[in-house]
Each structure stands twice: as structure tokens, then as C-alpha cells.
């Protein structure tokens, strides 16, 4: 049973990898883009100079490098499920996939795994490329950072599943993706420290889960903080996960059922 489910998830991964490799220029372009972003970020950091709010992170470059790497994860989690559904609908393969004994959970997980692998690769290139080129001092526990990243990934994925539910019902146009994605990127502290916002906007940012994740990761990786010092961030992200993960699956099943009832499952 577990072996069969693993094979199913691997099937999606292998398929997506084969498809990505079949577009070699696009593949190379994506790598070049990451390197380009590192250089861009470096010149931004020169422009910004030494800002007192960023000194504990070692400057703007380390601060933004983590923000950008995690934002890529966030965007992957957010878009990968809805894109997977829409791609299967537009290529006409959704019917064939759903006719196999693949569970919805395996379908969603499998469809996203290549995008996550790609995001992990780009995040690693981003973080290690930036730290190697510009001597960023990463001093914290990688394991602790990984644990927080996994918790954040669950949260990102559950938002992505809700977004996919919108695609099943509305086909195009995902208001949740638009608002949460845009506000999270802006208010979550990916590009700027929360402290630069007006006070009322800083209060709003407490509602953005990305904020806790980024705060925690920066504290672990750039300031060398331990779990005892970062547990509030872990707790906040876990609470969001406990609410959103089951809620997202519930909403997705509701949307799937509705699409089947209305006969619009394969429409796009």
C-alpha cells in the first residue's frame, strides 16, 4: 500500500522532471535567473548600505537572501497545486489521471513535488551562492531551520490547496491567491524588515504567517538562535498549520465534489 502510493508520487515527479528536461533552454534560463537575482540583490544591498534595523542580520544581503529564498518556497506552495490542476485540465489528462486508483492526496502531493524540489534547489543555490560570493556568515543549526521550513511548507501547501479548490470551481481567478499572496510578500518581511512599516501595518503583519517563519529562520540562520529562543515562531506556524491543513483538504474535497456534481471537473 505505502509502496504503491510512493510509486504514484514518484510517477508525478519523474513525469515533471522529464517534461522540464524536454525544454532545455527554459531549464538553463531558470538557473541563470537565480544567479542574476543574487547579483541584483548584492547591488541593492550596496545601495541600502548599513541600516541599523538590519545590523543584527549582518546587513541587507543576508536578510533579503533568506527572504527571497523562502518567498520562492511560498510561491511554489501557493501556486503549484492550482497550476497542476489547471495543467491537467488544459492538457486533457485530468480524466485519465483520475481514472487510476490514485488518491487525491497522492495526486496533489505528487504534482507538487517537482516544483518543491526545484524550489529547494534554487533556494540552496540562492543561499549558498550568496553566502559564498559575498561571505554571508550562516551560523545557526541547519536542522532547526529545516524543521521550521517543513512547518512553513505545510502552511504554504495548505494555502495552495485552497487555491486549487478555487480553480476547480471558478476555473480562472483565485482571489485568495491574489490577496494572501500579495499581502504576504509585502507584509511578511521578505524584502523589508517589518520595523520600517507604519505601526498600524506592523500590527496587521501579525496576521501573516510568513512573518513568523521568516523571523524564525533569520533568527536561527543569521543570529544563531536556539529552539528555546525561537519556540514562539515555531508555535505560531504550528497553530496556522493545525487550522489550515485540515481546512484546506476539506475545502478541496468540497470543491471536487461540487465540480463533479456540476459536471465541470474537466472544464477550464
Amino acid at each position: 500500500m505505502i509502496a504503491a502510493e510512493t510509486r504514484r508520487i514518484y510517477a508525478f515527479f519523474a513525469r515533471d522532471m522529464q517534461m522540464a528536461v524536454s525544454y532545455p533552454l527554459d531549464f538553463a534560463q531558470r538557473i541563470v535567473l537565480v544567479l542574476f537575482q543574487i547579483v541584483l540583490l548584492y547591488f541593492f544591498s550596496l545601495l541600502i548600505g548599513t541600516n541599523p534595523t538590519l545590523s543584527r542580520f549582518g546587513g541587507y544581503l543576508p536578510f533579503a537572501a533568506i527572504g527571497m529564498a523562502i518567498l520562492a518556497y511560498f510561491q511554489t506552495g501557493f501556486t503549484t497545486f492550482s497550476q497542476a490542476i489547471r495543467r491537467e485540465q488544459t492538457t486533457g489528462t485530468l480524466e485519465a489521471v483520475l481514472m487510476t486508483p490514485t488518491s487525491i492526496a497522492s495526486f496533489l502531493l505528487g504534482s507538487s513535488i517537482w516544483s518543491y524540489a526545484w524550489s529547494t534547489l534554487t533556494a540552496i543555490i540562492f543561499l549558498f551562492g550568496a553566502s559564498w560570493l559575498y561571505h554571508i556568515d550562516i551560523k545557526g543549526s541547519y536542522l532547526l531551520a529545516l524543521a521550521l521550513l517543513i512547518l512553513m511548507t505545510l502552511f504554504f501547501a495548505s494555502l495552495g490547496i485552497v487555491s486549487a479548490a478555487f480553480v476547480l470551481v471558478f476555473k480562472r481567478g483565485d482571489p485568495l491567491g491574489f490577496f494572501v499572496g500579495t499581502f504576504s510578500a509585502l507584509l511578511g518581511g521578505a524584502f523589508f524588515p517589518i520595523g520600517v512599516f507604519p505601526e498600524w501595518l506592523q500590527k496587521v503583519s501579525y496576521l501573516i504567517p510568513l512573518r513568523y517563519g521568516l523571523d524564525g529562520l533569520r533568527a536561527i540562520l543569521l543570529e544563531g538562535r536556539t529552539f528555546a529562543e525561537t519556540w514562539p515562531e515555531f508555535a505560531a506556524v504550528t497553530v496556522f498549520d493545525l487550522v489550515l491543513v485540515p481546512a484546506s483538504f476539506y475545502l478541496f474535497y468540497r470543491a471536487l465534489r461540487r465540480a463533479k456534481r456540476e459536471g465541470t471537473l474537466l472544464q477550464y
Binding site: A14, A96, M99
Partner: protein
């Protein structure tokens, strides 16, 4: 005979969607997909479903495969409820749709089949053992490493059938399987379906098609959908008995242009028609009813006209379909 598929009072209505800024609104007006279909398809049978466009053939097939939920009624496949949530029934079904886009065009035929085999839970060795004989049987082995976008329509459809057979299904659902195929490719595909069926007498297939000759030649029983309801469900022979008036008799007669026998025969058989082929020969045709063949023949024989050929052209599914449609 045990039932492979049982439709019980299945209806499917669609809602009309109203374009509305930012929101999706649904009107109360219902569009009928199919209405009150009760049907039993027996195990080991090839069953055909025909009807004009929009009569609900595809809706019924999608309900059967669980991709659409019926508005009312229920469907069972070998005694289990048909639903996409029911993994047990999905293991029993192979679906061949007429949509040739249902593969990943950037992947090869082999990669596509391997992907779907893995989704069926097979490991790579099992998949290889399953795919290779099917590729050989469907004459696609040479093309397996070619990308799908390089396949002809016929080969795409063959690959779709191979995919449907990967899990060794006992029920094959074929929704217009030969729609985009040339006559030779279509004929070859029909032979392959019959061969597949011959391998195991319990295998069951349900086929929808607009090619009525195909349905006549392949299927043991035929269901006719008209006005979104199942109007007929019988063997071709039974349908011919129910709609007997359209059997035609055609005769070639050397009448040398003399129409005296024709005039006499026409008084007794009003449906008799004459079409001159040349100065000497004419083709006569009339609806075949009890006693009328004798009456017509005796007129021509009495006048000394030579009947060079005579055949009964049996009523086809097309004529029956027209009659069924015309009943409402």
C-alpha cells in the same frame, strides 16, 4: 447472466451558468443531460450506446466512470457503487475517450505508459511486463520511444487503448474510440477490441459511437438514447423486429424499358420504385412486408421480364435511430 453494470433511474441535470462580474452565478434553469436511465449491461457483453449529438451518451459514460455525479439514481459496477472516490471500481475500469489530447505530448509513448502504470501502483518491472506485450499486440513497439506529438491519430488512439488496458480491466468504456480514425485504422482498432474480448469471456465493453455500422458489427446489444432518455435496449435482431417496415428489397430487372409489369405491381405494392440504369436495365425497390415479394415477383415473371438479381437490404441502425427519434 450477471450484471457488469447497472444503471438505476439515473438522471443528470446541468445548471446554466450566468456570466456575472466577479462572481459565478447559477440559474435555476436545468439542462437535461440524461433522464431516468435504467439499464443493465451483462458481464461478457459488448454493449453499444447510440444517439444523436447531445442526447447524453458521453454524460452517461462520465457518470459510469465516476467523473460526473448523477443528479439522482445510482450506478453499480460489478455490484459496487460507481464513484471516483471508490478506488475498488476504478481498478475494474479502463476508459478510452475520444480526446486525443489526453497524453503528455512532450513525453514518449513509453514514458506516458510508464507514468500511468505507476499510477496503477505497478513497479517498473511489473510495468515493463505489462506494457511490452500490449505495445506488441497493438503494433506500437517501434514507435514507443517516439514523442507522443509525433504520433498519427490512429496511433494516438491505439496508445489510449493500451493505457486503458494497463490495469487489465474487466470493464472497458470506449467513448467514440474511432472518431478521428481513417476507415482502415478504425477497422484495425475494432479487430483489436474483439481480440481483447475473445481472450476472456467475462470481459465487458461499453462503446458509444456515431459510426452505426461499427456498433452493429461489434455489439451484442444496443441502447438508443433519444431526447435524453433510453428509448430502446435490445439486440439488433430484436430492433429489426420492432421496426420491421424499413427492410428493403432491391431487384435488378431487364425490362427493356417496358413498364407494364411495374404499373401492375405498383397497384399491389405502392412503395415500389423504379430507377432506370440504362435502356435495358432498371433497379426496383420496395419496402419488404409479408407477401409483397411474391406479389412483385409474380408480376415481372408473368410479363416475361428477367430478374437478374434480387436482395433484401436489412434495416440498419440509422433507420431505426431515425424512427426512434421521430416517435416523440
Amino acid at each position: 447472466m450477471s450484471a457488469a453494470v447497472q444503471f438505476t433511474q439515473v438522471s443528470k441535470y446541468y445548471s446554466r451558468q450566468i456570466p456575472f462580474p466577479f462572481l459565478r452565478r447559477v440559474s435555476n434553469e436545468k439542462i437535461v443531460g440524461v433522464e431516468d436511465v435504467t439499464l443493465e449491461v451483462f458481464s461478457g457483453e459488448i454493449f453499444g450506446l447510440v444517439g444523436r449529438n447531445g442526447q447524453g451518451k458521453t454524460t452517461l459514460m462520465k457518470c459510469l466512470s465516476g467523473l460526473i455525479e448523477p443528479s439522482s439514481g445510482h450506478i453499480e459496477i460489478f455490484g459496487k457503487p460507481a464513484s471516483i472516490d471508490n478506488v475498488a471500481t476504478r481498478r475494474l475500469i479502463g476508459l478510452v475517450s475520444s480526446d486525443e489530447r489526453s497524453f503528455y505530448w512532450r513525453l514518449t509513448g513509453w514514458q506516458n505508459l510508464l507514468f500511468f502504470s505507476r499510477l496503477h501502483g505497478m513497479n517498473d518491472a511489473e510495468a515493463r511486463r505489462r506494457i511490452e506485450p500490449l505495445l506488441e499486440r497493438f503494433q506500437l513497439k517501434e514507435l514507443a520511444q517516439r514523442r507522443f506529438d509525433g504520433y498519427s491519430a490512429g496511433n494516438k488512439q491505439r496508445l489510449a487503448i493500451i493505457r486503458a488496458l494497463l490495469n487489465n480491466p474487466v470493464l472497458l468504456i470506449l467513448d467514440e474510440p474511432t472518431r478521428s480514425l481513417d476507415p482502415i485504422a478504425a477497422d484495425s482498432l475494432r479487430r483489436l477490441i474483439l481480440d481483447w474480448k475473445m481472450d476472456d469471456p467475462q470481459r465487458t465493453a461499453i462503446i458509444t459511437s456515431h459510426n452505426l455500422a461499427e456498433i452493429e458489427s461489434l455489439c451484442q446489444r444496443i441502447g438508443i438514447l433519444s431526447h435524453n432518455r433510453l428509448r430502446e435496449c435490445a439486440t439488433m435482431e430484436e430492433l429489426r423486429l420492432r421496426y420491421p417496415s424499413h427492410d428493403q428489397v432491391r431487384m435488378l430487372v431487364r425490362d427493356e424499358g417496358d413498364q407494364a409489369a411495374f404499373a401492375e405491381a405498383r397497384q399491389r405494392v405502392p412503395s415500389l420504385r423504379r430507377r432506370a440504369i440504362d435502356d435495358a436495365m432498371a433497379e426496383y425497390s420496395f419496402a419488404h412486408r409479408d407477401g409483397e415479394l411474391n406479389a412483385v415477383l409474380s408480376c415481372f415473371v408473368r410479363k416475361g421480364q428477367e430478374i437478374t438479381a434480387c436482395q433484401t437490404v436489412r434495416v440498419g441502425l440509422r433507420e431505426i435511430l431515425e424512427q426512434v427519434d421521430g416517435q416523440d
